[in-house]
Chain length 417, copies 2
C-alpha cells in the first residue's frame, strides 16, 4: 500500500465489508463467449472494482506486455501447508478475527506463508491458481530495486553517480542534479503528484503513458519517458522521503542504459532465472516498449514467494549469492526513520524507506514490498518468516486493511513460533 | 502461405532478393532505451516490412494476449542437429541453390527438421532463440483444427451439426444454415474477402476488430464476433474450397460454446499440455477477450515442432493418443482435390484442404500448416519427415518463396534418406 505525498484519500470501502466479497466468476465478469459488454473491463475501468477482481490475474489480456523469462531449473519450496484458518488476531478496530475471516473479507487472491525454511501456508481464492500471474502493482518497485542492487554489486551501476551520467536527456528535467540514490530511496526533490484519482495528476499522466488508461480526447499517446522528462524539481534533493512512483522509472532508465539491456531481460537474467522462478513473469509496456517499472510486473504467488525467500535468506539461493548481502543489509537497516513522516508512519510508526522497499520497523529490519489494492511481500529475517498476500481490494489504499494484514501476519508468525 | 479467394496479389519482393536480408537489430528496430520513434512499430505497420523482422517475435508487446499454458512435463526431442547447409536444390527459377543460401535469403527466423524420430536440424536467425515465441499467422488455424478434432473425439463437438446448435446468434448471418464441417474444410458459402491490402476488405475489418490495426477515424472498436455476425452468404455451402480466415473463427466460437471454456484453455489442456510443450504459448485477444483463432497464435520453434511431430506420429505422444488417429487420417486423405482449384493449385497441383490443414499431395497425404509471411509446418508421414519454418518475409504472399520452401524441404528429406 504505497501512500502518496498527497493526503491519503478517504477510502471508499465499507467499514464492515460484506462477509465474503464475490469472485469475478460470481460477479459475471468476463464470463460467457463472448461476455456481455457491461461485464468486460476496458482501459477506463479495468483496475477499479468490480473489474479488478478479474483483471489483476489477466493484465496482459488488456495491455501489451513483455516476458520476464524463467530459467531451466526451479527453486523448490519444501513443506506442507498448515491449517492457519483458526489463528486469531485483533483487527484495526480492536475486534477479534480469525485468519480465515480476514482472508475472505480482504479480497484475497492468494496467500503464501514461509517459516523457518518451510512453506507453512499456500491458499488461493477468486479462481487464482499456482499458474496465475497476478499484478504486483508497486511490489514491482522492490523487484526493480533488488535488480538494481545486483547491477551495483557487479560494478555496472553506481548508486552515487548522477542520473545524467547514464541518461544525458535528464539535464532538462528535475533529475538534472539528482543521483540514483535519491531515486532509489525516494528522496529526490522531483515533483510527482502520486494521486490515483485526480485526472490531471502526474500519476494519471503515467497511467495514460503506460497504456493503462485511454488517452484523453484521443490524440497520440505519450511514453513513460516523455512524462518523466517533463517533471520539474520542487525542492532540494535528499530533504525527505516522499513516495513517488516515477523514481522507480528513473532508476530503471539508468539501469537499461548502464547494462545496455531492457529491464525485462535484466530482471530475468539477474534475478528471475538464477532465483529459480517456476513460470515466466511479465511487465506491461508502453508504446516505446518501455516496461512500467513502478507497477507493471506480474508473476505467480509462488514466484513472489521465491523472491521474498531470497530476500529473507540474505540474497542467497542454496548458498549461491544472487542479491548482494550488503545491499539487503543496507535495505533493512540503512533507511532513515527521521525522513519518514506522515502519512507514511500510520502503518509503520517506526518505519523507513530504502532501496525501493518499505522498512516496517527500522530497528527490527523487517521489510515490505507493497502495492495498491492489497499487494504485499513481508520479509522478516529476525522471525525467519516471510509472507506474500495478493489481493483485489475495492480501492487503491485502505489503511484499515493494511493494518489488519500486518496484525494477521504477526499473529501467524507468533502461532508458528 | 494462405492464398485468398481474390487473385494472388503481385508480390512486392525483388525477384533476386539481397544476399542476406538484414536482421531487426541491424535495421535498428526497437534498439536503444528508448528506441527512436521512427524505429518503433505501431499498430499501423507492425506486421509489414521492415518492422515484422522484430514484431513477429514480440507480438504481445504490441497487442493484448492470453496464455496457452504448458504443462508440467516436456516432450523430449532427441537427436543432434546435422549440417544441412550444403544440401542443394533447384529453386523456383530453376537455379541451383544451397539450403544455407535459401535460409538466408528467405528471411528465416527459425528452421527445425525432424526425420525418423530424431531432430535433424535446428537453426535460429534474426536473434530468435529457443525461448522466443514467434507469430504463427495462419498456422494458428491448424492448431485450432487439431484441437477441434480432440473435442470431436471426446464427443463434445459434432462436426456435422449446424453452427446454430452451438451459436444461436448465427441465425442472423451467412452461417445460419452451415455446418461446422463446412467451416472446418473452408467450403461454406459465407462471404469473406481475404484481401490483406484493401482497407475495406473483410480481412481488414477482422484486423481492426482483433486489435491488429488502429480503428479508422477512431471510434469504438468492434469485436471479432461482431464482424463475423455481419457476414452474408454469397453462394451455397459445400460448393468449393475458398480460403477464408473467418471460417476458423466460426469453428472456434462453436468450440468455446460446446466446451464452456475459452479457446486458449482448450488448446492448453487438450493439446499443448498433453503434447509436452516446453514453454507457454499465447493468442492475441480482442476487446471481448476472444482469441484470434485464425492467426493470433504464438509459440516457440521447438513447440511447433512438437505439434508437427504429434501430427506426424498419428496423434500419439509416446504411445498415448492425443489427437484422434482417425481425425488425422481424415485430414490427410479426406480432402477433395476436385474442390481445390486456382489459385490454390499453384503451390500444390495435387492439393486439397481439410480440417484446417493444407494437403500438399492428396495421394501422398503430406499436410501443411501455413501462414502469411512465411510460416510453415510440413508433415510427411510417408517420408517420416517433418519440418517447421518460421519467417518474416517482406510480403504476405510470395509464391516463389513457397515453392522454394517445398523444394528445399524435399531436397533435405531426400538427402536424409
Amino acid at each position: 500500500m504505497p501512500q502518496g505525498s498527497t493526503p491519503v484519500p478517504e477510502h471508499r470501502a465499507p467499514e464492515h465489508p460484506s462477509p465474503r466479497p464475490r469472485t469475478a466468476r460470481e460477479l459475471g465478469i468476463m464470463q460467457g463467449f463472448p461476455p456481455p459488454p457491461e461485464k468486460r473491463p476496458t482501459l477506463s475501468d479495468w483496475d477499479l472494482p468490480p473489474f479488478n477482481r478479474w483483471s489483476f490475474q489477466n493484465v496482459r489480456s488488456l495491455i501489451p506486455s513483455v516476458e520476464v523469462r524463467r530459467g531451466e531449473d526451479c527453486w523448490d519450496l519444501p513443506g506442507e501447508p498448515l491449517d492457519l484458518s483458526e489463528i486469531r488476531f485483533l483487527d484495526h478496530a480492536g475486534a477479534e478475527r480469525t485468519v480465515a475471516r480476514w482472508l475472505a473479507q480482504s479480497y484475497t487472491d492468494g496467500l503464501l506463508v514461509w517459516h523457518r525454511g518451510r512453506l507453512a501456508g499456500e491458499l488461493y481464492f477468486n479462481d487464482m491458481t499456482p499458474a496465475s500471474a497476478h499484478l504486483a502493482q508497486s511490489v514491482s518497485k522492490s523487484v526493480v530495486g533488488a535488480t538494481a542492487g545486483i547491477l551495483v554489486g557487479r560494478g555496472l551501476l553506481d548508486p552515487d553517480a548522477p542520473f545524467v551520467d547514464y541518461v544525458p536527456e535528464m539535464t532538462a528535467c528535475g533529475y538534472a542534479d539528482a543521483t540514483l540514490r535519491h531515486a532509489l530511496d525516494m528522496v529526490s526533490g522531483v515533483r510527482f503528484t502520486e494521486d490515483y484519482n485526480a485526472p490531471d495528476s502526474d500519476m494519471t499522466r503515467i497511467d495514460v503513458a503506460s497504456g493503462w488508461r485511454p488517452v484523453p480526447n484521443g490524440g497520440p499517446r505519450p511514453t513513460i519517458r516523455d512524462v518523466l522528462l517533463s517533471l520539474p524539481k520542487e525542492r532540494p534533493h535528499g530533504e525527505r522521503f516522499a513516495y513517488r512512483s516515477i523514481e522507480t522509472d528513473a532508476v530503471a532508465w539508468a539501469m537499461e542504459r548502464a547494462a545496455g539491456r531492457p529491464l525485462a531481460e535484466l530482471v530475468s537474467e539477474l534475478l528471475w532465472q538464477p532465483m529459480g522462478a517456476e513460470r515466466d513473469a511479465y511487465f506491461t509496456v508502453d508504446g516505446a516498449g518501455t516496461a512500467l517499472a513502478d507497477g507493471g510486473f506480474n508473476a505467480t504467488l509462488r514466484d513472489y514467494a521465491r523472491f521474498g525467500r531470497l530476500m529473507l535468506e540474505g540474497g542467497r539461493r542454496d548458498g549461491r549469492q544472487i542479491v548482494p548481502a550488503e545491499w539487503i543489509e543496507a535495505t533493512r537497516f540503512g533507511g532513515d526513520p527521521a525522513q519518514f513522516g506522515p502519512p507514511y508512519d500510520l502503518v509503520s510508526p517506526k518505519g523507513a524507506y530504502r532501496h525501493q522497499w518499505w522498512v516496517h520497523d527500522a530497528g527490527r529490519g523487517d521489510i515490505m514490498a507493497r502495492g495498491v489494492f492489497g499487494q504485499m511481500i513481508y520479509v522478516d529475517p529476525e522471525g525467519d518468516f516471510m509472507a506474500v498476500k495478493l489481493s483485489s481490494w475495492p480501492d487503491f489504499l485502505i489503511p484499515a486493511f493494511s493494518i489488519d494484514t500486518l496484525a494477521a501476519l504477526a499473529a501467524i508468525r507468533r502461532e508458528l513460533g
